[in-house]
């Protein structure tokens, strides 16, 4: 009830309707993916040609594609984890540490958003070669940390700034050293921002392929695979099958988590 409300007003119902519409907009193109993954045609176009499970069969047989997916998930989670960690620490030091090094780091950390991916890719390839590591999934993780970092820093900094200073002061006053203030007060208070940062960094990594291209050794990521397959129309339906599987899996996982959470909640309420 915003603006104070005697009744859960008209406005909120319109807003709810809008949100539904918006979600429909988000799903409009995405819902076509499962649809065409069952279509018996290489062309992803209407009219539908008939039902087939062929694409799922070739997906099951396509080890390269599955490996690419696993790699992408690995890279995405690691890169998002590190980018979030860096985003959180950098913003913390910027907002609460108040020293010039921290401020400089925070400013630099937001720069990669300006640097074209191809340059980041080339630069890091040169760097990992200099370091004697060579291209690998690890190098891709590094690249994707750069790609995700600006977003995490921007979000976390805004959030930390919004926390009333006196709350952190109260904790220090009670005897909490900065590390504890950070762990027990600032971080819990910023949880939505941390989760959002992680999610966006993950999505950035999961879709990125130019940096990944330069830094890939013999293992590739999903976008690399899909991008390089554009010349082969025959692989599109298989990729759609994979996309559908990802969607289904995330729905199942999230559903299970929600179910568990609700159980836990109602159990807690009974107590």
């Amino acid at each position: 009830m915003s603006g104070g409300a005697a009744a859960p007003g008209q406005g909120s119902r319109w807003l709810g309707a809008y949100v539904l519409l918006y979600i429909a907009f988000l799903y409009l193109p995405v819902s076509l993916i499962p649809l065409f993954s069952f279509n018996d045609s290489i062309q992803a176009a209407f009219p539908l040609m008939g039902f087939t499970l062929d694409w799922y069969r070739s997906l099951a047989g396509n080890e390269a594609l599955r490996n690419a997916l696993v790699n992408s998930l690995l890279v995405g989670v690691s890169a998002a984890g590190i980018a979030t960690l860096c985003g959180v620490t950098i913003s913390y030091m910027d907002v609460f540490g108040r020293n010039t090094t921290a401020r400089a780091i925070s400013a630099i950390a937001r720069l990669p958003i300006l640097i074209p991916g191809v340059i980041v890719g080339i630069a890091l390839l040169i760097l990992v070669n200099l370091a004697g590591l060579g291209p690998s999934l690890l190098a891709i993780v590094a690249g994707h940390v750069l790609a995700g970092l600006p977003t995490t820093v921007i979000i976390m900094k805004g959030r930390f700034q919004a926390i009333p200073r006196s709350v952190a002061e109260a904790a220090e006053d009670l005897g909490a050293r900065e590390a504890l203030v950070f762990w027990r007060i600032l971080l819990p208070l910023s949880l939505p921002a941390v989760a959002s940062s992680f999610m966006l960094a993950f999505l950035t990594s999961f879709d990125e392929f130019i940096i990944a291209f330069f830094l890939a050794g013999s293992e590739q990521t999903l976008p690399l695979y899909i991008w390089s397959q554009l010349r082969f129309p025959i692989s599109l339906p298989v990729v759609m099958a994979l996309g559908s599987v990802i969607l289904l899996a995330s729905v199942v996982i999230a559903g299970a988590a929600e179910l568990l959470r609700n159980r836990g909640l109602s159990a807690g309420e009974r107590r």
């Binding site: 290489i42 176009a45 390839l125 040169i126 890939a216 013999s218 390089s228 129309p233 599109l236």
Partner: protein, 325 residues
């Protein structure tokens, strides 16, 4: 470290292409993939170090100029002689002393694929892609060695060695074409879909697209323009810093086996560089794939997309024109 590092087009890593190598060296090769050999070149230039790579003929000079390659001794290539002479004698792969910079392996044609129902009796010429009638319903390939090369041919200049004035002529030709196009693209998945739906009536494609669309019953024709189709070929190069040279030779040899070439023709519809492979494929299969039984004859009528001396300038100019300059 014992494994051959092979840098290749995505989809060219299939084990069927190098069975004998895998028999001799199980798990002896490691692939890295690219989707575009310009990017591949950039990655190698930036320090990526495979043993063997798989660029196309027109890029060999560029790789070479950057000092990335070492010559391949044809004496160590068992099936060298079964490669069609046209490929063996390509001028820009010769390193002298019986050595070459690249061992050609696959090839194909590039031309206009058009809807026979929507484009009535066109003149057999690349000029179709400049026909204002079809404005907004045509697409062309976004690569220097395709569209600008055709533009050069139509402008009457030598595509492979251009004076600045020639370049300007090509640019003019390209500028003329830009407003007529729906897209510059290498995304054949989309081009085929658009041709099938009728959104596009004509597009520059590779021969595999023609085969695929015909199989689906789409009324299309792969044109044989009077100026000649474009023929591309790609092959294996040995990197200067290759650490597994012996493995590399084994690998290239296994890829030149008859079986490998046959599989390439049948699976992808592109040509193999060896005559033995062609001999092993039934005639009607070749017909279906619009491949001649004796490519050497056909290849005399096409334009080979070899290295262009002004490739980089042309590329820069092409980018600017695409952007509206």
């Amino acid at each position: 470290d014992g494994k051959l590092k092979y840098f290749t087009w995505s989809g060219y890593e299939l084990p069927d292409f190098n069975k004998t190598f895998l028999a001799a060296h199980p798990d002896g090769v490691e692939f890295s993939m690219f989707g575009d050999d310009d990017d591949a070149f950039t990655k190698v230039k930036a320090g990526f170090r495979p043993d063997v790579a798989h660029p196309c003929y027109d890029k060999v000079a560029r790789w070479n100029k950057e000092g990335l390659l070492q010559p391949i001794d044809t004496k160590r290539i068992k099936n060298w002689e079964s490669i069609f002479p046209t490929f063996r004698n390509l001028p820009d792969i010769q390193a002298g002393d019986g050595k070459v910079w690249m061992v050609p392996w696959d090839w194909g044609n590039t031309s206009i694929l058009y809807r026979t129902d929507l484009v009535k009796d066109p003149e057999k010429s690349w000029n179709l892609l400049w026909d204002k009638q079809y404005a907004g319903r045509m697409a062309t390939i976004d690569a220097v060695h395709d569209t600008p090369l055709v533009a050069a041919v139509l402008a009457g200049v030598n595509p492979f060695d251009m004076s600045p004035a020639d370049l300007e002529k090509v640019a003019e030709k390209l500028r003329e074409q830009r407003p007529l196009l729906s897209a510059y693209t290498t995304d054949m998945t989309s081009v085929q879909q658009a041709l099938a739906s009728g959104a596009l009536v004509a597009a520059m494609t590779w021969n595999a697209s023609a085969v695929a669309l015909k199989k689906q019953g789409v009324p299309v024709e792969f044109m044989n323009p009077k100026e000649g189709m474009l023929t591309w070929t790609c092959g294996y190069v040995l990197l200067k810093d290759a650490t597994n040279v012996d493995l590399a030779y084994d690998f290239i040899n296994s890829r030149l086996e008859t079986d490998a070439g046959k599989y390439l023709i049948e699976a992808y519809g592109y040509g193999s560089s060896t005559s033995t492979a062609f001999a092993a494929v039934p005639k009607e299969t070749l017909d279906n794939l619009q491949l001649p039984a004796d490519p050497d004859v056909m290849l005399k009528t096409t334009i080979f997309t070899g290295p262009m001396k002004q490739n980089d300038d042309l590329a820069k100019m092409f980018e600017k024109i695409k952007a509206g300059g």
